[in-house]
């Protein structure tokens, strides 16, 4: 009806050339990436090498392909998502390349080249998401299929013969022929879809019923069931896959989506209590959790430092970041490769060393802006499913950034999770670019909805 239409927040916002803004920002982002690549080459080699520049060109073309797809299929999507994610991804590529140089990896099929290929595939995944998913609400139909998919993906690494530790201390990997991937990264999207669909249906029952005890509203037993299931699955992950980070990630995602859907803080307290209890019990039984706590609390203790799997890596990362200081050593001039896993889990410390606190904080700001755009869907969105999904997938990014960077900077105990968009690894990149595609789709429908209301 036309009268309703002029809800004025929407009407006052001028129709802006969103895709033009996006293109301009993307070009600036790619230019920053190019400058960083040139600096790495001069810093580490003293001259330019042509092959990496070709790889960079391939990456740039792929990013622009996403931009073109957005122009065609989601012309009102948020213009910030693509350039910001592309810039973070570019810094990941450059840092992985830089560590290749330090380790004198000369093969063409180096970690950096692999990461470029994965980035291109991930950008293609974002394009496919945008092409296939013309309306994010169709995902609501697959609520329970998503739950099944998530549980299968989460438990897949435990299948004998398929799952492996892949040289790390978490059983998180699945081998399919020559490719090893981390199904947990895809599980987070499936879980967000499931939680959003489930909570849209059940939030009234969850928020309005139950008994009040000591001012806290306790849910009914049957509403409590799904929470117990999610809690049990994350505990299983913790115990059998040795991965505190992943289990924290999923449980945190669930709690936040519950909170957003029902607006009840009591759920958050109950959930945190349950997780703390489970984690405490696990740390008694499983030695590796205990080891992580020790490394966090007394990293410079000689005994902890020398233990295999002790605090050596953590301390090397801290030394690296300290070496970087405020302005960094300059790209190509530090020694980030000394830290174990400096291209994946510890890429944050590597960036911190060469870009310094100032550069590292700029990247954190990029994450902040990206995530804030997703959280914004929570109050700008029109359909409840889209709101919950938008908040869910962006919160999972936020929590992941916090868990990884918090671990590397010794704010919280270290747990191995890939840093979104930065760390070497294909599964994580694919999943995160699919999330960008989803957010673009949801923000597009918000603006289209507002515009239809105005006309």
């Amino acid at each position: 009806m036309s009268t309703a239409s002029t809800v004025a927040g929407a009407a006052q916002v001028k129709e802006r050339n969103l895709r033009g803004i996006e293109l301009a920002l993307t070009l600036v982002a790619l230019a920053i990436g190019a400058l960083a690549l040139i600096l790495v080459q001069y810093g580490a080699l003293g001259g330019l090498r042509p092959v990496p520049l070709v790889f960079a060109g391939v990456y740039a073309v792929s990013v622009l392909a996403v931009h073109v797809t957005l122009r065609i299929t989601a012309s009102h999507a948020d213009p910030i998502l693509l350039p910001v994610s592309a810039l973070i991804n570019a810094f990941g590529l450059i840092m992985i390349y830089r560590i290749d140089l330090e380790k004198q990896v000369t093969a063409l099929w180096s970690p950096a080249a692999r990461q470029v290929v994965w980035s291109v595939l991930a950008l293609a995944a974002a394009i496919v998401t945008l092409l296939l998913l013309r309306d994010h609400r169709t995902l609501q139909r697959y609520t329970y299929i998503s739950m099944l998919a998530a549980i299968v993906l989460l438990l897949l690494p435990m299948v004998p013969g398929l799952g492996s530790y892949n040289g790390t201390n978490a059983r998180l990997w699945v081998h399919l022929g020559p490719i090893a991937f981390q199904p947990s990264e895809f599980a987070k999207i499936a879980l967000a879809v499931f939680f959003a669909g489930y909570l849209v249906q059940h939030r009234e029952a969850l928020s309005l019923t139950g008994h009040r005890i000591l001012g806290i509203r306790f849910p009914r037993a049957r509403d409590f069931g799904p929470i117990l299931v999610v809690w049990a699955v994350s505990m299983l992950v913790l115990v059998f896959q040795h991965d505190l980070g992943t289990s924290l990630l999923y449980f945190g995602l669930f709690l936040v989506m519950l909170y957003v859907a029902t607006g009840l803080t009591s759920w958050v307290w109950i959930g945190l209590g349950m997780f703390a209890l489970g984690g405490w019990a696990a740390s008694r039984v499983i030695t590796y959790v205990q080891g992580r706590f020790d490394a966090w609390l007394k990293p410079l203790d000689t005994k902890v430092y020398d233990t295999p799997g002790g605090s050596y890596q953590l301390v090397q990362g801290l030394f690296g970041q300290a070496n970087g200081g405020l302005f960094g050593t300059g790209l190509g001039k530090g020694y980030p490769g000394i830290t174990p896993l400096s291209q994946s889990d510890y890429i944050w410390a590597s960036l911190g060393e060469e870009l310094g606190l100032i550069g590292a904080f700029a990247i954190l700001c990029l994450y902040l802006v990206l995530i804030s755009r997703g959280i914004r869907v929570g109050f700008a969105g029109q359909d409840d499913f889209g709101k919950l999904l938008g908040v869910g997938v962006s919160f999972v990014l936020a929590l992941q950034v916090f868990i990884v960077i918090g671990g590397v900077t010794r704010v919280i105990p270290l747990t191995g999770l890939p840093t979104p968009f930065l760390a070497a690894g294909g599964s994580s990149l694919l999943a995160n670019w699919v999330i960008v595609g989803l957010l673009a789709r949801i923000t597009n429908s918000i603006r289209v909805g507002n515009r239809e209301a105005v006309s």
């Binding site: 009268t3 809800v7 927040g9």
Partner: protein
């Protein structure tokens, strides 16, 4: 490349990264600080900036402007649409949870067909359509229709709105 050029370019990179962050923030400034509003700035501030007080008359005194028609504005003081405004035209508007309503309120405490606002001569009439949880005008639950004067807060579910001429 000389050492000096390298240092200058490295500094330039850090500066560029922050300039990029600032440009991005500039493009989304409308979402951070709210769109520019010419009239009644405090009522139209978006939710995150400052919680608009519910007490309607205190914040937005009705301005007795020369009126040519019934054209007015609904201002949302609280609830999911807080901070937004709805321009009324010279025709009735229904309020409710049903998607057929002229003003759709997604709120479990709002009935499908909750209330109707209709122009009446020089003013507006608010009519409760038999809602379950009631329509409150100036804090009192109404039954049937009452004339609605500007600046009186109307509570429907968790939404508080008022008419401004």
């Amino acid at each position: 490349m000389s050492g000096l050029t390298y240092v200058v370019l490295s500094g330039g990179l850090l500066a560029l990264m922050w300039i990029f962050v600032l440009i991005v923030l500039w493009t989304i400034r409308a979402d951070l600080f709210g769109p520019k509003v010419k009239r009644l700035p405090q009522a139209a501030t978006p939710p995150p900036a400052s919680p608009a007080p519910i007490a309607g008359p205190a914040t937005a005194p009705p301005i007795p402007a020369p009126r040519t028609s019934q054209a007015g504005e609904l201002v949302f003081l609280d609830g999911p649409l807080r901070g937004r405004r709805l321009t009324l035209r010279d025709q009735p508007i229904t309020i409710g949870r049903d998607s057929d309503s002229g003003l759709v309120l997604h709120d479990d405490y709002v009935s499908s067909y909750h209330a109707r606002l209709s122009p009446n001569g020089s003013g507006w009439v608010l009519e409760d359509l038999g809602s379950t949880n009631g329509t409150y005008v100036g804090g009192r639950r109404i039954s049937g229709s009452v004339p609605l004067r500007p600046g009186i807060p109307v509570k429907i579910g968790s939404t508080v709105l008022e008419l401004q001429s």
